[in-house]
């Protein structure tokens, strides 16, 4: 491999140059996919911390029954902003960051297709985040309507709601531009010989995710635009006083909202599909079926939205259709889980931190999938709708699913990005602390939900106290464990051991086989030659 690396190093343009700017201006003006990937990842980590603090405010209030820490109105603002910031500010940008860093390197392209557009896609994000944070300081405070922004409450909120709507417009624009960039890069800029069915699965999942984003994000933009015009321009899309219908909002929102679930999950599947084969030292089992399963999940995600709203009073035929369609998604998802397990079967497994997080993902995501199946069944969902069971379910797929996959990805590619190794012992500590505290936080929430505790309430009956205390302790443990992650990454960048050319012997995509470690600032200026 070193011969290949030397060849790339020997190339005239491979030295690091940053477009002539230094310091902050370098980052503001950068059009380099690696710089922008880094910006996305740091931005999402900052947002992860902000959203995490909000989660801890929620858990502090729920530590005991009664009102201790915050008033109910602020509590509602916390649940709303925690959801919005984690979904749109932390998880989605994190995976766009991975896409920026990895996709050009994995398909042998020199950069993203539209480098300047890429810069703009990122720099829209801080302004959206600013608007969200700003909404706390306007009269009436941030919206306390839940991250789903259901009408009619949204029609009645203060000016903070308008700021949130504009923030969502900007976030949506950023996602759509980023997606167009990713699709174009993958479809037009693959190295000669890199056919679609030879691409690493991470590229496939992102290609499909990008299509989902292009199709779903504009629908959300439409929904919040309707809310905006209902608020200020006298339309009555959702305002029942004028003949509108709040349930219509729920339909439009979840038409976006369910594909959004897979927008978050599919790139995570992609990362896991890179990590598990690398540490099993085997090629991914059932590559083609993985591609088809991903596409099947994406298509099905557009016809299952009403399973989020079984209780609105839809006809029983509607409930049956959405129930069967939803349970159908378990089939391609099951194909994926079995393929990952089959990849590990008889592999030469080693358990470095990325692999630990990948296996943690596999275990916990599957549990989240099973509770999802439970919730897909109408008779059970009517009991569990809007209880902590739902909260537990989606944190299993969002945190143990998407976030653990992102951790796996960071540990996996950090040597390639920085040229330095992270501290393996601390990495394992980070995994085990996250794994244990995650389950302490969220496993008990299943019990609370089954016992009937509603979500989004600041106060609760005495009988729920024990499990809430345990959940709150777990949440603080989980939150503090993430500071260890920050320390590990900073330590690796500043004083980490120099990474070997190929730190993971089982990794076989282009960035490992055709590029030196760390990856040069400009890679694949001439397309690699593939067998």
């Amino acid at each position: 491999m070193s011969a290949v690396a030397d060849h790339v190093h020997g190339h005239g343009h491979a030295h690091d140059h940053h477009g002539g700017y230094r310091g902050v201006m370098r980052w503001i003006t950068t059009t380099n996919h690696k710089d922008i990937g880094t910006l996305y990842l740091w931005f999402s980590f900052v947002m992860f911390m902000v959203g995490g603090v909000m989660a801890l405010v929620i858990r502090a209030e729920l530590f005991s029954p009664g009102l201790q820490v915050v008033d109910p109105d602020f509590f509602n603002q916390m649940t709303t902003m925690h959801g919005l910031i984690m979904v749109f500010g932390a998880i989605m940008p994190a995976f766009v960051g991975f896409a920026n860093w990895q996709i050009p390197m994995m398909i042998g392209a020199p950069d993203m297709a539209f480098a300047r557009l890429n810069n703009w896609s990122f720099w829209l994000l801080p302004f959206a985040a600013l608007l969200l944070i700003l909404s706390f300081f306007v009269p009436g405070g941030a919206p306390g309507v839940g991250w789903t922004l259901y009408a009619p409450l949204t029609v009645q909120m203060g000016i903070g709601m308008d700021l949130t709507i504009f923030a969502i417009h900007i976030l949506g624009m950023s996602s759509i531009l980023g997606s167009i960039n990713i699709i174009t890069t993958i479809l037009n800029m693959r190295a000669p010989g890199m056919t679609l069915m030879k691409m690493p699965l991470f590229c496939w999942t992102w290609l499909i995710t990008a299509y989902l984003l292009v199709a779903a994000m504009p629908v959300l933009a439409g929904a919040v635009t309707m809310t905006l015009t209902d608020r200020h321009f006298g339309t009555t899309f959702f305002n029942a006083a004028g003949g509108g219908d709040p349930v219509l909002y729920q339909h439009i929102f979840w038409f976006f909202g369910h594909p959004e679930v897979y927008i978050i999950a599919l790139p995570a599947f992609g990362v896991i599909s890179q990590v598990i084969p690398a540490f099993s030292r085997k090629p991914l089992f059932g590559y083609a079926s993985m591609v088809y399963a991903t596409a099947a999940i994406a298509i099905l995600s557009f016809i299952v939205w009403a399973h989020h709203m079984y209780t609105v009073g839809m006809p029983v035929t509607g409930q049956l259709f959405f129930m069967y369609a939803t349970t159908l998604i378990a089939v391609p998802t099951g194909v994926k889980v079995f393929n990952w397990v089959a990849t590990m079967w008889r592999g030469s497994l080693t358990f470095e931190t990325p692999m630990l997080f990948a296996i943690g993902f596999l275990f916990l995501f599957t549990m989240g999938g099973f509770t999802g199946l439970v919730l897909s069944l109408v008779p059970i969902d009517i009991q569990l709708h809007d209880t902590y069971y739902v909260v537990a379910h989606f944190h299993y797929v969002m945190v143990a699913g998407a976030l653990f996959a992102a951790f796996a990805g960071v540990y996996f590619w950090l040597p390639k990005w920085t040229g330095r190794m992270y501290d393996e012992t601390l990495g394992k500590w980070h995994f085990w602390l996250s794994m244990i505290f995650f389950n302490i936080t969220f496993f008990v929430q299943h019990f609370l939900g089954l016992a009937g505790m509603p979500r989004r309430i600041p106060d609760y009956p005495l009988m729920f106290e024990t499990w809430n205390k345990i959940s709150s302790i777990g949440a603080f443990g989980f939150g503090l464990s993430q500071l260890l992650f920050l320390y590990i990454v900073l330590k690796a960048i500043r004083s980490g051991e120099k990474a070997p050319e190929k730190p993971w012997e089982g990794a076989d995509s282009l960035e490992w086989t055709h590029l030196p470690t760390p990856a040069p600032y400009h890679s694949f200026e001439t397309a690699p030659v593939l067998k």
Partner: protein
């Protein structure tokens, strides 16, 4: 090389425009869901905001598949009253609220008080014959020569045994002694 780069840039721009058109179309699709939603609700008759007349209550208590004939009968026991139902029989669906009227006339030259007592044939039908209002609930006092119309409002219970197709409802008026001038 430059020609290839230009071709790539052109292909990229073309794809950008196409995907932007898709995004714009999906923005429109969100709004298209509004009339679509109304049409679906109207077709399925599930949204009362959209079609208020669809909200008219449907009585699920009435068993329209069955019809029971109620034969009406009237007697006066040793009483100088002319007592008759306005119709001799009426067809009702079990569960439906029905009102029938009787007419009673005092042919004597002084006030008389009487009390009506109902009876049913077959007798078991009496358990399923729910009277909501009846002149038989109270004593009736008629002035000399007075004629009065009196309602009976009833529901035949849908639990009525299936083999009963007609019910005879018979009222007999008895004079209440020591009242109304003492007969």
């Amino acid at each position: 090389m430059t020609a290839a780069n230009e071709a790539l840039a052109r292909d990229n721009r073309r794809l950008l425009v196409r995907l932007a058109v898709v995004a714009a179309a999906m923005f429109g699709f969100g709004f298209a869901l509004v009339p679509f939603y109304r049409a679906i609700c109207e077709a399925l008759g599930i949204n009362y905001f959209v079609k208020p007349e669809a909200a008219a209550p449907v009585n699920t208590q009435v068993d329209v598949s069955r019809t029971v004939t109620i034969e009406l009968d009237a007697n006066a026991h040793n009483l100088p009253w002319r007592f008759r139902p306005l119709v001799n029989h009426v067809s009702v669906h079990p569960g439906a609220l029905v009102t029938v009227e009787y007419e009673v006339a005092n042919v004597r030259d002084r006030p008389v008080t009487g009390q009506a007592v109902p009876s049913f044939a077959p007798r078991i039908a009496g358990q399923h014959f729910k009277k909501l209002d009846c002149f038989c609930f109270t004593q009736q006092t008629l002035a000399a020569g007075e004629t009065r119309r009196m309602p009976v409002t009833f529901v035949v219970d849908p639990q009525l045994p299936a083999d009963i197709r007609s019910i005879a409802l018979s009222y007999t008026f008895f004079e209440v002694a020591g009242k109304g001038g003492g007969g």
